[in-house]
């Protein structure tokens, strides 16, 4: 304990001029990049969301008009927001617990566990764009495998074309990928759990279920936090898969799709697109800040 304190007291004199140059350049470039690519544009998005800019002409300040239009006058907005929330609920309440269940089963050391683990994890390495195309093979109306399995030839269900149904099918496809991701994170967490904890619980007469929920699960807290953040971020970022299926139209609207449509479409309503992006930002910031507060606390305890 005495060495670090001494090092800290030595303070600024520790670095030679050459050290400072190295630090300046190699910290400077990534910080500059992070500000230019991530934080600067985030602030710019917030500013632009109060303008009616089309990307070419002058920038006109319009106050909160974009937001008013967004909430009252833009029919796609509420369905898209609902879909994002549904996405969050589906991943959080179904896919994530399912991933945890698979991790717990595999962690009990069953035979073939490597096979199970690899197979369940495989979809994670696929691009969501590819997942979107595979979803079309499974769910397409006339030739899709699902209708063939259901022997539904008389009056085939249009799984991806029916705006009341398609979001659920896409959620299944997204969960296909999410479950494996969650499973691998929990598997790593479970491996790190001290086995003597479980033994102690067993000696005290706890059932397997009690041991899990009272002893093991609480020690998984760091993993739970990470999984929670990933789930929220995935749900809010969701884009590729619906874009690959039908460009996010006809029942598959998402906030991310609306942003993209408004800025790269012919209309190029940059101010308006930014307002949608800011809504997305506010929702995710709520979760990100919670997470960061926890991280900082952990950092201080280190």
């Amino acid at each position: 304990m005495s060495t670090p304190r001494r090092a800290a007291r030595r303070g600024p004199r520790r670095f030679t001029r050459r050290d400072l140059a190295v630090l300046g350049v190699l910290l400077g470039i990534p910080i500059l990049l992070d500000v230019a690519i991530v934080w600067g544009p985030t602030l710019a998005s917030i500013v632009l969301s109060f303008t009616s800019w089309d990307g070419i002409g002058d920038i006109h300040w319009v106050g909160t008009k974009n937001y008013e239009n967004l909430f009252t006058n833009y029919p796609q907005f509420w369905p898209a927001a609902r879909h994002n929330l549904l996405w969050l609920a589906f991943l959080g309440l179904i896919a994530t617990p399912f991933g945890l269940l698979l991790a717990v089963l595999i962690d009990r050391g069953v035979r073939f566990s490597r096979f199970y683990q690899s197979t369940l994890y495989m979809p994670v390495v696929l691009s969501l764009a590819v997942v979107g195309f595979i979803a079309q093979l499974v769910f397409s109306r006339d030739q899709g495998a699902l209708n063939a399995i259901l022997a539904d030839t008389e009056n085939p269900t249009d799984w991806l074309g029916d705006p009341d149904l398609n979001i659920w099918m896409i959620l299944l496809a997204a969960a296909w990928r999410h479950t494996g991701y969650v499973m691998i994170l929990y598997l790593a967490g479970l491996k790190a759990v001290d086995p003597s904890l479980k033994e102690a619980a067993a000696i005290d007469g706890a059932s397997e279920r009690q041991t899990f929920f009272r002893v093991v699960f609480p020690t998984l807290r760091p993993v739970n936090v990470i999984v929670g953040v990933i789930t929220v971020i995935e749900a809010l970022r969701a884009f590729d898969i619906v874009y690959a299926v039908n460009k996010g139209r006809n029942g598959l609207e998402l906030l991310s799709v609306l942003v993209t449509d408004n800025i790269i479409g012919e209309a190029s309503r940059i101010g308006f697109g930014s307002a949608i992006a800011v809504v997305l930002l506010l929702v995710s910031m709520g979760f990100v800040v919670t997470y960061l507060v926890q991280e900082i606390r952990g950092e201080k305890n280190r």
Binding site: T3, F15, R18, D19, V22, L26, L27, P30, I31, D34, I37, V38, W39, P41, T42, G55, R111, F115, S118, M122, P123, V125, S127, V130, F133, A135, Q136, L137, D142, Q143, A145, A148, Y181, L187, A188, G189, A192, P222, I226, V227, I233, F239, Y243, A244, S256, V259, T260, I263, I264, I270, G273, S274, A277, V278, L280, L281, S284, V288, Y291, L292
Partner: protein, 306 residues
């Protein structure tokens, strides 16, 4: 009977019965049945895509994808390669992802080294700046970047569009800028687990910051860098949005985004599309199967702190 066969089991080790008994317990069997069902369900869509890609369109349009094959061939793969020039798109992906991964790892490892190993003021702020940046939704930063890249001029030898927009530079810089955050987070966590004494000895010997980073810390991080590099490569390879927004010339698209074009060209022929999807998925699947250990380590490095 039993007496006759009694001497025989003597040769089998006494340990043999327990596993068999364990395997036969109904609970275990149920777990296996469940895991096997789920595994097969997870594999099925992939196998279906491969199966569809091997069959002629006429056959599947008549009988559906879920039917027995009359003819199997690799024709669609050949067609996907020759007609849509997939090789070109693969090269585009490499032009973006290789420098992207290397730069992200290099810069992130230095930042991680600085925040976790040097006793600097503001380390936590720096760490948060990067980590939080990676958690923002991509669409929040897309619009200003689109405008910005359109206004940054580049000489002709760097970009034939004369701006940063519609050039590889745009996609590379976004990939690096965005992914540095995740890499810093993971590497800082990893570097914290390294013994501080090694560095302290080096400092006593008068090692410069660069030596402490490049000669002492980085070699110890090799496993973490390999894991993270594998993961980052698949992420950059799989990315869809950046190229879609920042590149307008179809010939410059990386493979994942180009798949969308393939769809536009042959939108009726799902079997060709299946072949395209398999081709696009193959490199990441291979990376996964060959480097599974690294890949999983990369994901979990950040989540469980040592």
């Amino acid at each position: 009977m039993t007496i006759d066969t009694a001497p025989a089991p003597a040769t089998t080790p006494a340990a043999a019965p327990p596993p068999r008994r364990r395997a036969l317990r109904p609970g275990r069997l149920g777990v296996h049945a469940f895991l096997m069902t789920v595994s097969l369900a997870f594999l099925a869509p992939l196998l279906l895509a491969v199966y569809a890609s091997l069959r002629p369109y006429d056959e599947t349009s008549e009988h559906g994808y879920f039917s027995l094959p009359k003819k199997l061939s690799f024709d669609y793969y050949q067609q996907a390669f020759s007609d849509s020039g997939m090789m070109k798109y693969f090269i585009n992906t490499l032009i973006i992802a290789v420098p992207g991964v290397l730069l992200a790892l290099f810069f992130a490892s230095f930042v991680a080294f600085a925040v976790s190993r040097l006793r600097m003021r503001g380390s936590i702020v720096l760490l948060m700046l990067f980590t939080a940046g990676n958690l923002l939704p991509q669409q929040v930063i897309v619009t200003p970047l689109y405008v910005l890249f359109n206004r940054i001029p580049l000489p002709y030898w760097m970009s034939d569009s004369m701006t940063m927009f519609d050039s590889y530079w745009a996609v590379i810089s976004v990939q690096v800028g965005f992914q540095i955050g995740f890499c810093v987070f993971v590497l800082a966590n990893f570097m914290r687990t390294l013994p501080q004494e090694i560095l302290e000895a080096a400092i006593v010997d008068g090692a410069s910051v660069w030596t402490q980073y490049w000669r002492i810390t980085l070699p110890l991080c090799r496993p973490a860098l390999a894991a993270l590099g594998t993961l980052q490569f698949t992420w950059m390879y799989n990315d869809f949005l950046w190229a879609l927004v920042f590149i307008s010339d179809g010939d410059k698209l990386p493979i994942t985004s180009a798949l969308n074009n393939l769809r536009g060209q042959f939108f009726t022929d799902y079997n060709l599309l299946a072949a395209g999807s398999v081709i696009v998925a193959l490199p990441t699947l291979l990376v996964f199967l060959l480097l599974q250990r690294h890949f999983i380590a990369g994901l979990t490095l950040g989540s469980t702190k040592g």
